[in-house]
């Protein structure tokens, strides 16, 4: 046993020690796991109801082997398991006892939170998921507007077999930014403590012909949160403006009347920009400057030819005005609600420590009174695909 002599034995011992270090021998066969795609959390009476949407692999097999559809199976390709408990932990344990599989949440896509639970405060219920191996980075937190999380888990979708996956498809298609659990936790611990979460409601497409009115999720970034409690909703216009400021115009299509005159023609443009920049002004009083620089291209027919710099400048100014009005309205509403969703508190804390120390106890009131100066600079970049405008003589 020459090879065990001297220094050669050391790596072997080290290796054995390394093998013992992790202490997790936690392999689970795929066939022993219930792969969770979505979680619904609702308040029912005094208890919390946990609903889990997991995939049914056998259904996936039948659909995979017969391309014609669900393979004769009338059941949806997912299973919903729900349990009530005094805590999420208790409900999860009940589910674990009921499902003969290990509940695997590493690929969970979304937490649908019922509105009543959201109003009460969601932190105690999300804490379990934030601590354990459930995916925090990728799983979205979505508020069920006027409904329950369980309902949303059953909303079928045009594009995907699994409702939770359908959400992902919708998000990808519409470029909606939905905060994940991780982002929610980050904002939750910020100075302002306020943030906007995305709410969803299952709506039927009423304008579609009868028989085609699929129930679909409508996502809107409008649920105002103060701490972990739902305070209310922004209206559609404000929600849109919020997303523009927060995430920038990501190729957003937008239509606006080319002049303030009634009956003015509407021009369609495509906007793109970085997220808005917020500056805290302190001379002489505390204020906030919001600067939005965006580029736009014309995507729809142009009512009057943009053949002169003056015409282009006029169009730019018109767009600046329109957007400024939208943003001003948004800030007016946010200040009325005392919801510092852009976390201006942190900026004050960072750049004006003395002011912050003075006012931090009554920040919501200070925020509500903050003068907001909005600057929008739109730059015309492209006149669309047409090289000649109808009726324009060269």
């Amino acid at each position: 046993m020459r090879f065990l002599r001297g220094h050669r034995v050391l790596p072997v011992i080290l290796l054995c020690v390394l093998l013992l270090i992790p202490g997790c021998w936690s392999g689970h066969e795929l066939t022993d796991q219930l792969i969770v795609l979505g979680v619904g959390l609702d308040k029912v009476g005094d208890q919390v109801r946990l609903t889990i949407q997991g995939i049914r692999p056998e259904a996936a097999i039948s659909t995979a082997s017969s391309p014609s559809g669900s393979g004769g199976s009338e059941q949806p390709p997912f299973s919903l398991v729900a349990a009530k408990g005094d805590s999420v932990q208790e409900a999860l344990q009940k589910i674990t006892r009921r499902v003969p599989r290990f509940i695997y949440g590493g690929h969970n896509q979304v937490f649908f939170i019922g509105e009543s639970l959201a109003r009460e405060g969601i932190m105690p219920y999300l804490d379990l998921f934030a601590r354990s191996q459930w995916s925090q980075e990728a799983a979205w937190v979505v508020i069920a507007r006027g409904g329950t999380g369980q309902e949303l888990l059953t909303t079928t979708n045009l594009v995907a077999k699994y409702p939770s996956m359908g959400l992902a498809e919708t998000v990808r298609a519409h470029q909606v930014d939905i905060p994940t659990l991780f982002q929610f936790l980050l904002h939750y611990h910020e100075d302002s403590g306020a943030q906007i979460l995305v709410s969803a409601a299952a709506v039927k497409n009423q304008t579609a012909p009868p028989g085609y009115q699929m129930e679909q999720l409508r996502l809107q970034p409008n649920a105002i949160f103060q701490g972990d409690k739902l305070k209310g909703y922004l209206d559609d216009s404000d929600g849109e403006a919020y997303a523009w400021l927060k995430y920038g115009f990501q190729g957003t299509r937008f239509s606006f009347p080319v002049s303030a005159l009634p009956g003015a023609p509407v021009l369609g443009v495509s906007l793109s920009s970085a997220p808005a920049e917020f500056r805290i002004l302190s001379t002489p009083d505390l204020g906030v400057g919001v600067e939005v620089n965006c580029n736009f291209s014309v995507t729809e027919d142009i009512p009057s030819p943009l053949n002169s710099p003056a015409a282009i400048r006029a169009l730019e100014n018109r767009l600046d005005q329109t957007l400024s009005q939208r943003f001003s309205l948004l800030f007016a509403h946010l200040q009325a609600d005392q919801a510092d969703v852009f976390n201006l508190a942190e900026k004050v804390h960072a750049y004006h420590l003395a002011l912050w120390e003075k006012d931090k106890g009554r920040w919501p009131e200070v925020y509500a009174q903050l003068p907001v100066e909005i600057t929008v600079n739109c730059h015309f970049r492209h006149s669309g695909v047409m090289s000649k405008y109808p009726g324009f003589k060269e």
Partner: protein
């Protein structure tokens, strides 16, 4: 050979005594023939040879007539030297002792014994049938020389000599094997090989004590001096062009009578990934193909283990849609993934071994039956998942993309080892196992050259023949020298 016979070490002047001794020694060897003759001077003599390995035409047309015409008498003195002058086919060397003479006799030489002469003359009449030079089976290339070594030593050396017309090409001959007395040749290029390295190779060769050397593989462990590693520390090749290239790099080649595989040493890990193809094609193609081989090696060693680690331990790291497919495919498989993998790996090795041993004509058929029929049947029977078949097929194909058999046969060991590591600790275990293998490989050396040189020794100038196949004008100006690599150790 009789053990009771007296063992005179020396040949005596008496033909009778010598014949008596020979008869005793060759008792039971029915292939040896004693053919008496008388020279022109009426001296009785005897030819002793084996009818199996002797060129009898040469014997009867050249040797015997010359002996019949021999007119010298022992009384006149200078007898052996004079005889050799008159018999031009005799080699320089004569034997005065029996052991050497008997070895020569067994090797196909004809012993000429003359009465009154205490020496025997070996006539080089050896003739053994061997196959001709054929295409390389184990290291085929698309472009480039196709010929491979054969089992006979001298034609092999002749090819090398013909390709390297240079007196610096030195070929040292020696005999190894206490019983078999096998001819072994050490070939090298003087001026390219380091003298210390040459001395070390010679020392190790002369230190080999084996009863018989039937294949160059017998020598590898003696030359590498490390049997406790799955890595091949000595490269074997049946391609003359590889031998030439190795000698130009300052490496030595050991060829063994009876083996079509030459040994090249010292060897680094990266040598096994070099195929002559690389050098015969463009620099880009050569480099890309080499990278594909590295990838194939990693896949062959790691793919089953990674599959196991990802599906059982770290499904979080797989894309969700991929997980759907995996989950659906595995749904009805009754055995755990690790058992499934082990069953398939073992089955794969059995197929490989079976296809290898079967006659050429039905070997491929068995491979197809094994892979397609059995795999398909196992999947439809629900014993294994279709994804597992894909994983294992990819592993098997990757194994075949490794250009040298030395490496190909050892990669399976790592494949099993990594699967076992993964089955216990998932990706962590996999990384642990892979690190252990890598550390082990870095600790090895082949005749003093670090096994992972020049990569682990950071001789980045020499990486031009590891990570890329540098263009010929770059390589050609300075062939890589082992010298620089030795810096790591000595």
């Amino acid at each position: 050979m009789s053990q009771t016979a007296p063992l005179p070490k020396a040949i005596t002047p008496s033909l009778e005594e010598n014949l008596l001794y020979l008869h005793q020694m060759l008792q039971g060897c029915d292939d040896f023939v004693f053919r008496p003759f008388r020279t022109a001077a009426d001296i009785p003599g005897m030819l002793v040879y084996s009818i199996l390995s002797t060129d009898q035409n040469f014997l009867s047309q050249t040797v015997l007539p010359a002996l019949y015409r021999l007119e010298m008498r022992p009384e006149r003195g200078f007898f052996p030297e004079a005889i050799r002058d008159r018999l031009p086919f005799l080699p320089e060397k004569t034997f005065t002792g029996w052991p050497d003479a008997l070895v020569a006799l067994s090797g196909g030489s004809t012993l000429i014994l003359l009465d009154g002469v205490a020496e025997t003359f070996p006539a080089a009449t050896a003739q053994v049938e061997h196959r001709g030079i054929e295409r390389s089976e184990t290291e085929p290339v698309i472009r480039g020389p196709q010929e491979a070594f054969t089992e006979a030593l001298s034609p092999n050396l002749a090819i090398i000599r013909a390709r390297m017309k240079n007196p610096d090409l030195k070929i040292n001959l020696l005999k190894l094997g206490e019983k078999s007395h096998t001819d072994v040749a050490l070939a090298y290029l003087e001026g390219e090989i380091q003298p210390a390295l040459l001395a070390e190779i010679r020392k190790r060769l002369s230190g080999i004590k084996l009863p018989s050397v039937q294949e160059s593989g017998f020598l590898t462990e003696f030359l590498a001096r490390n049997s406790y590693t799955p890595f091949p520390l000595v490269q074997s090749t049946e391609r003359p062009d590889k031998v030439i290239a190795a000698m130009l790099e300052g490496r030595g080649a050991v060829l063994v009578e009876g083996s079509p595989f030459a040994l090249l040493l010292p060897t680094t890990f990266w040598h096994f990934f070099q195929s002559p193809d690389d050098y015969f094609q463009s620099f880009f193609v050569g480099t890309i193909i080499r990278w594909i081989r590295y990838l194939a090696y990693i896949l062959a060693a790691a793919l089953p283990a990674l599959y196991l680690a990802f599906t059982v331990f770290q499904p979080d790291m797989l894309p969700l849609r991929f997980l759907f497919s995996l989950s659906a495919a595995r749904e009805n498989v009754p055995v755990p993934t690790v058992v499934e993998i082990l069953i398939m790996l073992i089955a794969l090795d059995i197929f490989r071994e079976a296809a290898l041993r079967l006659p050429r004509s039905i070997g491929p058929a068995i491979g197809i039956v094994g892979a397609l029929v059995l795999g398909e049947a196992a999947v439809s029977a629900g014993i294994i998942s279709p994804i597992m078949v894909i994983v294992l097929a990819l592993t098997a194909i990757s194994t075949f993309a490794i250009p040298t058999e030395d490496l190909r046969s050892t990669v399976r060991i790592f494949s099993y080892a990594l699967v076992l590591f993964s089955s216990v600790l998932g990706l962590y275990g996999f990384l642990l196992g892979a690190s252990a293998i890598l550390l082990h490989a870095c600790s090895l050396d082949s005749l003093g050259v670090p096994y992972f040189a020049p990569v682990a020794t950071l001789h980045w100038r020499e990486w031009q023949d590891v990570f890329v196949r540098a263009p010929w004008p770059v390589i050609g100006s300075k062939q890589q020298k082992i010298k620089a690599q030795r810096r790591g150790r000595h």
